[in-house]
Symmetry: C2
């Protein structure tokens, strides 16, 4: 791993920002971690948790001495944050982010930056359904992928610094264009979230099946969708607004496939169903083999006593 940074400023101390702060300290990646958040309640928690050397609501002051500034705010807020902090960056300071969409982030942030401040957009593919500074943890990025999408011509030393920082947090770094990132994430993350949100909404609106029944019998598959559909609403609203084209493209394909599947059910075409259901097993095996999941059956996880309620 690379050299230790002097000061890292983290803007936005939610799930991801607070995990980076914890990790930077745990793995000794910076001499000093500055936490910047406009929410005084979040700053209070950061101070109480002791996960930064300094916690401030003053963006200008917070980023002034930083060698690396990481924006951990919802994708829709990155442009404004970049505009506000850009004049206060010291020469050579690197700006990065953790947004789940990259094309719109590059477009929103780049115009505000001076040429001496390289922008190295990053997206750690990790998270949980919880939000806020209390939900982060230092090992969040261990063995998870972190995708960097530096625009063409980005200073190579800056890319190397950000790469070393993420490797220091335990991540495996991969580089691609912002456009390709947005397509890949549309299918592996954005559309799955949208579908999960959608089916949970559909279930909530039924008249023939009560909400209590939906909750009771959720172990048959629905439960896993509700976990995804419990993710942060602001973050996900911004993802869909800023990665519209790729999401609509992938949703279109999903819908075509679902129409064909619906037709197979209506006409009783068991062979078509069996063929798809067999094919999808192979992808699962690939995920388990690549270590992005354990093979342990998830339905069998620890269960508190439902009668306790």
């Amino acid at each position: 791993m690379g050299s230790v940074l002097h000061t890292v400023a983290i803007v936005g101390l939610g799930l991801i920002g607070s995990s980076i702060a914890r990790g930077a300290r745990t793995y000794g990646l910076a001499d000093r971690v500055v936490a910047v958040d406009r929410d005084e309640a979040v700053l209070e928690r950061v101070r109480a948790l002791g996960i930064a050397d300094r916690a401030t609501a003053d963006l200008a002051e917070g980023v002034a001495k930083a060698d690396l500034v990481i924006l951990c705010v919802p994708v829709g807020a990155i442009g404004m944050a970049a505009a506000e902090l850009a004049p206060h960056l010291k020469p050579g300071a690197i700006l990065s982010d953790v947004g789940s969409v990259k094309g719109s982030v590059v477009a929103a942030a780049t115009p505000h930056l001076k040429p001496e401040n390289p922008f190295v957009p990053a997206h750690p593919v990790a998270g949980t359904e919880y939000s806020g500074p209390d939900s982060g943890f230092a090992t969040m990025f261990q063995n998870r992928w972190c995708i960097l999408t530096p625009p063409e011509g980005t200073d190579e030393t800056a890319v190397a610094t950000v790469t070393a920082f993420w490797e220091g947090l335990g991540a495996i770094v991969e580089t691609m264009t912002p456009e390709h990132h947005d397509l890949v994430l549309a299918i592996t993350s954005h559309v799955p979230h949208l579908i999960a949100y959608n089916i949970v909404g559909t279930a909530a609106d039924l008249e023939t099946v009560t909400q209590s029944e939906v909750i009771k019998f959720s172990a048959g598959g629905f439960r896993d969708f509700t976990r995804i559909a419990a993710s942060d609403p602001t973050m996900w609203r911004d993802v869909f607004l800023t990665n519209k084209d790729a999401v609509l493209e992938m949703l279109g394909r999903f819908n075509e496939d679902l129409a064909a599947l619906t037709k197979a059910i209506r006409w009783g075409d068991g062979d078509a169903l069996f063929e798809l259901f067999t094919r999808t097993r192979a992808i699962r095996k690939g995920i388990v083999a690549m270590g992005q999941e354990t093979a342990e059956p998830d339905f069998g996880r620890a269960r508190p006593d439902p009668k306790a309620n």
Copy 2:
């Protein structure tokens, strides 16, 4: 819990059947467990695992002495199995099953049975994505719901016996009509599985994103769908063929909602997205509160080293 049965026969020793066999022994629910399977390889495993007192391919002989026969075969095979075994049941012997669809099961099995053999259909809402006799475990049904759907007029002593058996396995028993069961499960289990199969299929067919990328970056949400989409193909083909009406009804609603959501994305209606994403969080809280899931973040589960491959 109720009295111990003399002989329980389990027909079909897959994930669920083998879990019942293990549980019946572990919790002392029967003096004798007979395993019936037409697949000689499965019988070999049953014998090697020692999870039944007798393992046979002969259905007639296997069920002849049973007080309770539980069909653990795919839903589409229940009618034929019932027809074949009905003449060999002793007077008063109870037939049950574990199918994920109940209306079609009642229609398929009932006509073959003599009046002295009550049919008490059951559906334990539990499972994993694995199949076969090696993947079962005795605690599979602990604190899980088991839905009984006895047709009107079913002998009450028989219903009580099956209830006691499932309670002995640790399940919480609830009774409803077959029709209502099929609606509830269509939304909590069948449509979620269909959607998971569908999106995994969509992802596999892309040209712009490689399958290796889909697998690599699956931690962003897709991974959870692949687990569901790795479930047994034969079982799920039969579910969709036999619960067609309820699945198509729920799919129709899902599609209407998804169309509205797609429109909100296309027109940049952030408020509509935010409203739905907030509402769906509440359902998740209900599931965690009811003990059908732990609150522990699932994304943080144990991760083997991906570099090991």
